[in-house]
């Protein structure tokens, strides 16, 4: 094909793609039915309605509480019907609750990690127990929410049966993470004093700059390959919506997280203090399933893998997913692999 023909073909595909995008309209996300069971400040606790069980599956006794990160929105766990980790868990008999941290504003700039780990999270755990009638909870922490869950499990283990961490950064110095390297020279105290909450857009710009050529250029060029596939275009727009729907990060919690967890690697050293209490991961004596992604550029495997040597329980299981930080929620492989793995692991430890 001549260069002229290639050019004409490119333009024609571009036109088709733009027309298809224009026809799509607003995408819908997080549509699995759920009910609000508790609200405190901007935090909302949801309970998902049960779905039809897959053949051979039976309900689990212990409910699952998902603790998402303060970065981005939790509907990533339920992006669309055929790419929903939450649906996968519901189909396998789990009673699923989800904490939505909301969109923090200026009034929340002084919220520290102690508010999340020692106030909101315990209150949500209590509400899950009340609503489900169970005596214990399985806590599933995702990304930064995994770090919060580790702190909670170390400080207030009494109401937990099992802990699952997904793509959770444990050590920021063990890996070759660009984020950790960049953070080293930033005066986070001054930043949060001036900005208050750290803008979601600023965080997004930082995440994009981890792979600038791919994330700001190539993925949009590749979109042209899907110009004739409305479903693929819709998937793309859903992801795009999730990526840029970034809440501001509460300032004080950000300051603590970057200084302690990222710069000082204090979680590994047992030096994190939350609400005046020292977080010692050795205090975690419940079973732990640690799921990490082989190609994760935000929470690299080396950052997660070391958890097994830090906790006080010998019932530790590591599961490596052959994908990235996002693929572990939304890829077809993740739908086939992650919910069944969680379900089978929990079923063996359902009390």
């Amino acid at each position: 094909m001549s260069k002229t023909e290639q050019g004409a073909q490119f333009i024609e595909r571009l036109e088709r793609g733009l027309a298809a995008l224009a026809r799509l309209g607003e995408v819908r996300l997080g549509e699995t039915p759920k009910d609000e069971v508790y609200r405190e400040d901007k935090v909302v606790l949801y309970r998902y309605r049960p779905l039809e069980l897959k053949p051979g599956e039976a309900p689990l006794r212990t409910p699952v509480l998902i603790c998402y990160a303060l970065v981005n929105r939790p509907y990533m766990m339920d992006l669309q019907p055929d790419r929903s980790l939450i649906r996968g868990l519901l189909h396998r008999g789990m009673d699923v609750f989800l904490i939505d941290w909301g969109y923090p504003d200026g009034a929340d700039r002084h919220l520290g990690l102690e508010d999340y780990v020692l106030r909101y999270l315990p209150h949500c755990v209590d509400q899950v127990l009340t609503a489900s009638g169970a005596t214990r909870v399985n806590l599933l922490g995702v990304c930064q929410g995994g770090a919060l869950s580790l702190c909670y499990a170390a400080l207030l283990p009494g109401k937990l049966r099992n802990l699952i961490t997904m793509v959770t950064p444990v050590s920021f110095q063990a890996s070759d993470s660009l984020l950790a390297k960049w953070a080293r020279h930033v005066d986070v105290d001054a930043m949060t004093a001036v900005y208050g909450n750290v803008p979601g857009e600023l965080l997004n710009a930082m995440f994009l700059s981890l792979m600038p050529f791919r994330l700001t250029s190539q993925k949009y060029v590749h979109l042209l390959d899907q110009a004739d596939d409305p479903a693929a275009l819709e998937n793309f727009l859903r992801m795009e919506k999730w990526i840029f729907d970034s809440p501001d990060h509460p300032g004080e919690a950000f300051r603590q997280f970057i200084n302690d967890f990222v710069k000082d690697d204090a979680l590994v050293k047992g030096a994190v203090r939350i609400g005046g209490r020292q977080v010692n991961l050795r205090n975690i004596s419940i079973p732990v399933l640690n799921i990490y992604a082989r190609h994760d550029h935000l929470a690299p495997p080396d950052s997660s893998r070391m958890l097994g040597g830090l906790i006080g329980c010998s019932d530790y299981t590591a599961h490596e997913f052959a994908g990235g930080h996002i693929g572990i929620y939304v890829s077809g492989a993740a739908q086939r692999e992650i919910p069944p793995r969680i379900a089978s692991w929990l079923r063996e430890r359902d009390g």
């Binding site: 002084h110 390297k181 960049w182 020279h185 930033v186 005066d187 001054a190 792979m211 050529f213 250029s217």
Partner: protein, 289 residues
Amino acid sequence: MARDPDAGYCNHVHLAVQQRSGSARVARASPDMLRETHALMSNAEDPSTEAIRSWIERQRELLRGAGGGRAASESAGAPSSSGVQDLAGEAQDLATRWLAGAQTYLHGMSRFTAASAEPRPPEAGLGAQTAAAQEASRTFFELLATAPSLGLAREHTQAWRDLLAAQQECQELQQALMVELTRVQNEALALLEREVRDKQIADWRELYDMWVECGEQAWLQIAGGEAYCKLQGEFANATVRLRAAQQRIAECALRQLDLPTRSEVSTMQRQIRELRERVAELEARRRQT
């Protein structure tokens, strides 16, 4: 009443003290008075009574000329008769100072523009012209930054000066970052050149994808280096300082309009949070009992 030769001098000192404490009303008359005092003290080692009287009269004339009849009577203990005029005088004085500041700024900007427009040899290119303009800009800002702020508007002047310095710092660091980003692009092209040397490229798309991969490789190499990490950190910190300087000026304006500032709101939010903690503690204690 016989005039005490020291009285005029004492009055003068009193007025000078008032000037130091920021009284614009006195400040209008004082430069001439200072000159007169200096002349008296340097020319007359043993001043005659006549010379002193003459000097005192001269001071009175100067004060009258500057609306100082009122100042003189005030210094003798008489109350002010025209507060409105005082305020107008202060406003005029403030305006004069700001005008002088603006003229300094415009002078600096004109120097900056002239330096930017200065013809450069073609081989020097756009980069050299930009560098020359930046140098001129830097010189101007350095001058402005080193001169001390004085007087009633000192704090305002300092706030604007801090803002200019922060802007300048950001621009310089941004420029340094741009140099690094250009280096990434150049490295990416060099990598791509090596990649395509012995390879048959099917179409533009394949070439583009190869360029993206080379770009990411080059980026990882440079952005992961200590020098770049430090530079990016410095830039981030400089933008924080710039924002802080902007906030300082914005808060000053808000206070003048008696509107709440972010600092005030933030203090209240902190207090509310602390109160909530105390309430929660009390409730927990009450439940236990």
